[in-house]
Structure formats: structure tokens, C-alpha cells
Amino acid sequence: MMPRTLYDKLFDAHVVDTLPDGTAVLYIDRHLVHEVTSPQAFEGLRAAGRRVRRPDLTFAVPDHNVPTTGRGEPVAEPKSALQLATLEENVREFGVPYIPLTDERQGIVHVVGPEQGLSLPGLTIVCGDSHTSTHGAFGALAFGIGTSEVEHVLATQTLLQRRAKTMRVTCRGCLRPGVSAKDLALAIIARIGTAGATGHALEYAGEAVEALNMAGRMTLCNLAIEAGARAGMIAPDETTFAYCRGRPYAPKGADWDAAVAYWRTLPSDPDAAFDRELEIDAAAVRPMVTWGTSPEAAVPINGAAPDPASVPDEVTAAQIRRALDYMGLAPGQRLADTPVDAVFIGSCTNARIEDIREAARVARGRRVADGVRALVVPGSGLVKRQAEEEGLARILTQAGFEWRDAGCSMCLGMNPDKLGPGQRCASTSNRNFEGRQGPGGRTHLVSPALAAAAAVAGRFVDPAELEDAA
């Protein structure tokens, strides 16, 4: 048999049928649903008199526009309340399993799926959200879909898909202490650009990736979409199996053994050919920060924003000028020491317990700088409780961070947590587009450690230097 990549194996295993032009009808094992991209899909089903084909493979949880304070009280914003109520009506009418806002398991869909054992190796996982690539960390084929496709999966439990090209990013060597998966992800995007993997399914490999825990792997795959990839994925291994074992929806007993035996067959064959290959020297990666309005605009923390005057290509220079202008940065300005107004630690990129531990490690015994507003928003109610039990919440609140309820929060400014015009934010989220965190807001993407360091210093600083100074 031809040697195959992880992607090929996942794809092949789910082909139900093939259309004359080669498009596959692809079976979907898990469909995660949230309040923002599903109402029109259920509306479509109802209009066509269709039912949900496999409610048992569908799971709904509200996250995008839920408030992160006053949990248990009615949602004040009328339009958010309407979307939440609509989701509740839809899951009831169509019999879809649902985690309500008041349930401790509620949280960001990409945190909840793995936590509940819904995200497992070998599965196809979709959700009406681009960061569904996160679940590829388990060696699953996971990708975001639009609302028409949400409706399509609800009605048929399949999608019409063409095979993507494959790309492997091999991260050689080890990340240095203090350098996280987030930094690695930003370094890769800075290298290949936000369209660098367009049309490709991206597999991350190499020692630096194998050494990551599941949280780090999820961060890496989460950002695959910011490199334009259709999906990001990592071969399942002992780290993956250990994480999945015993989770509520993971297989048990003999099923578990059968599943693990199958999962071990999934990694790319040694001589499988990828359409593209890229190598990254992981040991050379430094803590990263973005300066512009695209995730590819990332530099090491001791680096500087570019100077458009030194860029020969006029189109690129104009883009840089526009981004600097929006971000309120001078050409060539150093990022370190640039003051921040707000800090956001959260989002499906970095709101797991490991991320909160990192933030608390930096914040311990320090104070949030005067005039800085710092939010920590755990990825789920379970992460929140664990952080409280581990004493992390206390460290953070004593340092002056706000400790919130789970949700997407300031990642996208759809709920009350927003930046004001011109405010500069160190954010652990994934998008620094204009207005993403609120109209006129200025977002710098960073790791949890760097965000916490910015909060206590009131400016961007390498967390390692902060520790030297203490």
C-alpha cells in the first residue's frame, strides 16, 4: 500500500461515497454547535422539514457572546439573550445534547470538547467556528465550517469535501525555557504568512512538538487557521492517550483498547510524501509579540516594528504604514517598553489550566500596574474551578487581575468585555485584526506569560527580564 500521511488516513477512513467529480461525501463523527453560527442552520432545517440525523453525535454549548460576570443572572444584552434562548429552543426541539450556561462544564467550545473527551484521535470534528482546527491536536481531522455547512452536517452527518494538499512543519530541537507553544505558533506564521498554508492540511511534527503537552499542542493547532491552513494536526501518541483516558465521552474498557490500537496506526507513514515541507529551528524561537493587524506581523519581544521606508515594495510599505498608524506605533519602534492599557488572558488559544498556571507564575507576589485593566477568563467552568482549587485564582486576584466566568470574552468583543478606541491590549487570543476586540482597539498577540508580565510591568517586557529584576 502507498505510504500515507495522517491526513490521508483520516480522510480515507471517513469517505462515505465519491461524487463523479471526485468530491467526497465525508462522514462527521462530532459536530460541536454554539449560539452564533447555528440559528440560521436550524431555521433552514425547520423550513425544509428536515431533522437532525445524529443528535447523539452533536453537542451544543453557548460561549461566544455570554457575559463573563454575573453567571446565573439573566443576560442583559437583548440580542445576546435572543441568540442564547434560540439555541436552547433549537436543542430542545431537535434533541441535541446541551451544556447550559449555568452548568460548570460550560465554556469555550474548543476547550469543552477536549475536556469532555468529545475530541479524540481518528475522528472528524467540525464546528461553525474557524478555530475548530484546535482539536487536530488529538490527531483528528478538525476544521471550521460555515453556517450552510452546519445545516448540512445537521441534516446528513456528512460534508462534501475535496481532499486538501498536505504540508508538514517539522520543528527541530527543543523550545527554550520560557518559550511557549504560542511563541512557536506565531514564529511559524511570521515565517510563512497568513496565507502560507492556504489549501493545505498542516501537520506539525518534530521533537519540539512531541515534547508539548496537550494544552500546547492545542494552542499550536488553534493557530493553524491563522496560517491559512484548512486544518492543523499532530500525530496521536502516549501524551494524547493519557489525556483522553477516563474523560466522560472517551471509550471505556474493551472499546478503549480497540480505540487505542486503532489510534496507533494513524501517524504518517515514515516515507509518506507531503505536498510541502518546512523546517523550523525551535531552539531559535523567542517570546513573540505582534506589532500589526495581522497575526503574521509578529516579532521577538526584543524586536521592533518594521520601518516602511526600508521596504522596497510599495504595496507592502503602504500596508505596514496603515497597520502602524492603526496600532499607534512609530516606524521602527521597539515593542519592549511600549505601554499597555489592557491585558486579556483567555480565548480558545490560551485559556486552559496550563495557561492560567503560566500567568499565575509570573503574577505571583506582584501587582498589576496602575492604570492597567487585566482580565483572566478561564476557558471553561471546570478550568475555573481547578484554578481556584490550585490557588491560582487567589494569586491572580491578589495581584489585581479580574477573575471571570468562562466564555470567549474579549477575544472578539461580542459580549460586554471590549477595548475602547485606541486602547492597547496584550492579548493571549488569536486575532489582532482592526476592531477585533472592540472598535479602534489595538491588539498585540502574546503568550500567557508575556501577557501577565505586561500586566505587572504596565508595558511589554520579556518575562525572563522581569524575573531578573525581581
Partner: protein
């Protein structure tokens, strides 16, 4: 879905690369439970600038949008396509598109046409001449025709082309495969696969 065959109309020149879906429709307008009525929020933030091209009277009623590389990158929100179609845009021309956006557009009857950068530049220059420079898009023949008659051929997935031409929706096509889906489910292990 409304079929797409040919289109002759005014094109809006955007002269920007990486037009992400947050720009096409900012997140605050996603709090809707309907597909219609989003046209008034198309490019809401950029339209606050009175000089923004879409605000200029000569582009009122435009049906075509021309932009730079990587249109529709970022969020998967299908609202971007709904906003375009509700506004009246049926065709987006650019050197390249982000995957999810391209899919969403096709499913909603918005035709994404990828053309080489030089062709896009020529069409942008035409569009900048204003409403008398109408472009002609012919899906059957897979060409975009400039006001001077020059035609640029474009490629499109044959299935997608057929579905657009006939106004067929995906679910209808897939439901023809229910026996195969049932057979797949019968051999799929209970723990997933």
C-alpha cells in the same frame, strides 16, 4: 439558492489585500438569528469614512466587488456572504481567496472569481472609471469581460459551477447518498472511529 448564470454590472474596486471577514461584517452584527437584512452592515466600520469607496454614489447598486489577495481570511462567519448577497454583490473578483470564505460564498450564490494579479489590476482600473465601465461575468463560459471587450477566463470546480447554474443546494445533492451513509454508519464502531 438563486441560480447564477451571467451578470453585467458595476464593480466596486477595493484596492486592499487580506480583506478579512471582520472587515466585511464586524462581530457586533453577528447577533442575529436570520440570514437576511445584513447588507446594511457590509463593511460597517469602513463605511463610517464618507470617502470609502462603497459610500460613493457612483458605486450604488454595485453587484461586483474587486479586491486584493486573500479575500475573506479570518473568521468563518457566513454572515460575510449573507451581507454581500443582501447588499446585492453576486460576484467577488480577486487574485486569491481564503478557503472557508470561498466555500461559504459558493453556497450562497456569490461567485468567487480568482484571476491573476495583472487581470485583477486591469479590472480594478476599469472599475475606478465609475458606473459606465460595467463588467460582464459569464459563468457558463467562465469568463469575465472588460468594457473594452477583452475577456479573462477563470477556473471553477465543475460541480460548484453546475450547482450555481442550477441553483441547487448541497443538502439536496447529498441526500441522494443516504443509502451509502446508512451503510457507513452500520460498519462504524460505536466509539467513533
Amino acid at each position: 439558492m438563486t441560480p447564477f448564470t451571467t451578470l453585467t454590472g458595476v464593480a466596486v474596486p477595493l484596492r486592499a489585500a487580506n480583506v478579512d471577514t471582520d472587515q466585511i461584517i464586524p462581530a457586533r452584527f453577528l447577533k442575529t438569528i436570520k440570514r437576511t437584512g445584513l447588507g446594511r452592515h457590509l463593511f460597517a466600520d469602513l463605511r463610517r469614512d464618507p470617502d470609502f469607496v462603497l459610500n460613493r454614489p457612483e458605486y450604488a447598486g454595485a453587484q461586483i466587488l474587486i479586491a486584493g489577495e486573500n479575500v475573506g481570511c479570518g473568521s468563518s462567519r457566513e454572515h460575510a456572504s449573507w451581507a454581500l448577497i443582501d447588499y446585492g454583490i453576486r460576484c467577488v473578483i480577486a487574485p486569491s481567496f481564503a478557503d472557508i470564505f470561498q466555500n461559504n460564498a459558493l453556497k450562497n450564490g456569490v461567485l468567487p472569481v480568482a484571476l491573476p494579479a495583472a487581470a485583477c489590476e486591469a479590472l480594478t482600473a476599469d472599475a475606478e472609471l465609475g458606473p459606465n465601465a460595467r463588467l460582464h461575468v459569464d459563468l457558463e463560459r467562465q469568463i469575465v469581460v472588460r468594457p473594452n471587450g477583452e475577456a479573462f477566463p477563470f477556473a471553477i470546480d465543475p460541480l460548484r459551477r453546475e450547482m450555481l447554474l442550477e441553483g441547487l443546494d448541497d443538502i439536496g445533492v447529498t441526500l441522494r447518498h443516504v443509502p451509502a451513509i446508512e451503510a457507513f454508519e452500520a460498519r462504524r464502531p460505536a466509539w467513533g472511529l
